[in-house]
């Protein structure tokens, strides 16, 4: 059995595969159950809360769009009101302080479900990163991947889970720099915690950009798998 065959066998064990037959044409396609409910639920809840947190975060940032001194104030950027949520600082804070709990609860739920283990980047994945980068960005040959997620996907998903944790930690340092003084201290004090919180948001947005590009590139069946769990014609199964 070749590498790909082994992969298929492994895959079939981790996710149920079925064949779908069209009664009219008799055509048969395969489908794999990729994402259990808990993962899909966490994914979409997280997507919504992330959207709200970024929008309201920008509203809060608009109140003092700077990381320097208050006097004299040098603004970093003027974020348009149209892309901010809440209408005013108080409104932005309400959204932020409400959805942070949903965001945290979703994160705990997802990590508690332990499905992330299949996207966890481990030291033994390091070796396979370059061939994958070579393939993705420099037209290299397609490496054989023996797991559900390739090393680059693992790196991306592990990083973004880490960034999610960091967004919460930096957020707590900004919200409670006295009660969590050790957190604020680790980040260089309240002032720096605010900068880190902002930087982590951009890192997450950078991931999101790449994520959305991949969603578009991988097409409809792949997208539907995050809604129904089932992916039709997955590329790792032989037709």
């Amino acid at each position: 059995m070749d590498g790909l065959g082994k992969e298929v066998e492994k895959r079939k064990m981790s996710a149920p595969v079925i064949e779908i037959e069209s009664p009219k044409t008799g055509e048969v396609v395969q489908a794999a159950y990729e994402h259990p409910w808990a993962v899909r639920f966490a994914h979409w809840l997280n997507a919504l809360s992330l959207l709200v947190l970024v929008g309201s975060g920008f509203q809060i940032f608009r109140a003092f769009p700077s990381f320097g001194a208050k006097i004299p104030q040098k603004d970093l950027l003027h974020w348009p009101k149209a892309f901010a949520l809440g209408g005013w600082l108080g409104g932005g804070l309400q959204w932020h302080l409400t959805f942070m709990w949903i965001y945290i609860a979703t994160g705990i739920f997802y990590l508690g479900y332990r499905n992330y283990r299949q996207v966890l980047f481990t030291p033994r994945d390091i070796r396979a990163v370059w061939p994958m980068v070579h393939y993705y960005f420099f037209f290299g040959p397609k490496p054989i991947v023996r797991e559900v997620y390739n090393p680059l996907q693992k790196l991306a998903y592990t990083s973004v889970v880490g960034l999610g944790v960091l967004s919460v930690l930096t957020g707590f340092a900004v919200w409670k720099p006295v009660q969590f003084s050790w957190l604020a201290w680790m980040m260089g004090g309240f002032h720096w915690a605010r900068i880190w919180h902002f930087a982590v948001m951009w890192a997450i947005l950078f991931f999101l950009l790449g994520h959305l590009v991949m969603v578009v590139l991988h097409g409809w069946n792949n997208f539907m798998s995050m809604l129904t769990g089932w992916k039709k014609n997955p590329d790792y199964l032989e037709p």
């Binding site: 079925i18 779908i20 979409w44 809840l45 109140a63 700077s66 409104g91 804070l93 409670k176 129904t228």
Partner: protein, 239 residues
């Protein structure tokens, strides 16, 4: 474990899986104008509840060295209305009422007769900027003892010469770093910074640290929380 089903059955299965994500739509309630306000209020209320639980009576805010101070002239003046409400210093008294044994008019000299505390602490504004200032004054807890306050009461509320008003939970009022402040940078408080007497609370956000105090009340019931809180800001906002 391959199984073959027809495409109609697969559609049914997919639809059922999709419907299982319906709970995510509950977040959509936030898009309904009538429901949005109470939901955000509840979210903010939960955050305040959590803040009160996280508050530690004996945990001190970080203090700083002289060299870390923000120069006095760069310490922002953030009045909501006027920088100087024109307090007549000679006629000024602090009117004390509520659950206290000795209500009445208190002179500044009486506050100043209490042990003077000087502290270099961080002042954090809800807008996001922060400065480190040097403050001097009497512990509010000492003053509460002087007036024979019932410290089992829930709140201390204050009113200001500029119609600003605020309230504090008793735990924060009794915190050793919570001051009735009459000095900044070892000089008498200037009018813009809240002369003759202001609250200085390193464990609270800036807007809770009311200036130009005129009235102080110890109470179990608040008919209003604070100038900004009553417009939608967090009631507890501890740091």
């Amino acid at each position: 474990m391959d199984t073959r089903i027809n495409s109609r059955k697969f559609k049914k299965v997919s639809r059922r899986e999709l419907l299982k994500l319906a709970p995510v739509l509950a977040v959509g309630a936030f898009a309904i104008p009538k429901v949005q306000e109470p939901l955000l209020k509840a979210g903010l209320g939960f955050s305040d509840w959590a803040s009160a639980r996280l508050f530690r009576s004996r945990h001190l805010a970080t203090t700083f060295t002289e060299s870390e101070l923000t120069p006095f002239e760069k310490f922002p003046i953030n009045g909501y209305d006027v920088d100087d409400p024109g307090v007549d210093f000679d006629a000024w008294t602090l009117t004390v009422s509520g659950a206290v044994q000795k209500p009445g008019e208190y002179k500044l000299a009486q506050v100043q007769s209490l042990p003077r505390v000087r502290q270099n602490t961080r002042h954090v504004c809800v807008e996001g900027w922060d400065v480190i200032g040097r403050f001097g004054g009497a512990r509010l807890s000492d003053f509460l003892q002087m007036i024979g306050a019932d410290t089992t009461a829930r709140f201390v509320s204050v009113e200001c010469a500029d119609d600003y008003y605020e309230s504090l939970d008793m735990k924060t009022a009794l915190h050793p770093q919570t001051l009735l402040c009459y000095e900044m940078y070892d000089q008498p408080l200037t009018r813009e910074h809240g002369a003759p007497l202001r609250l200085q609370i390193p464990t609270k956000i800036g807007y809770k640290q009311a200036k130009y105090l005129t009235d102080l009340k110890v109470t179990n019931i608040l008919d209003r929380v604070g100038y900004w809180e009553d417009q939608g800001y967090s009631s507890f906002y501890s740091l």
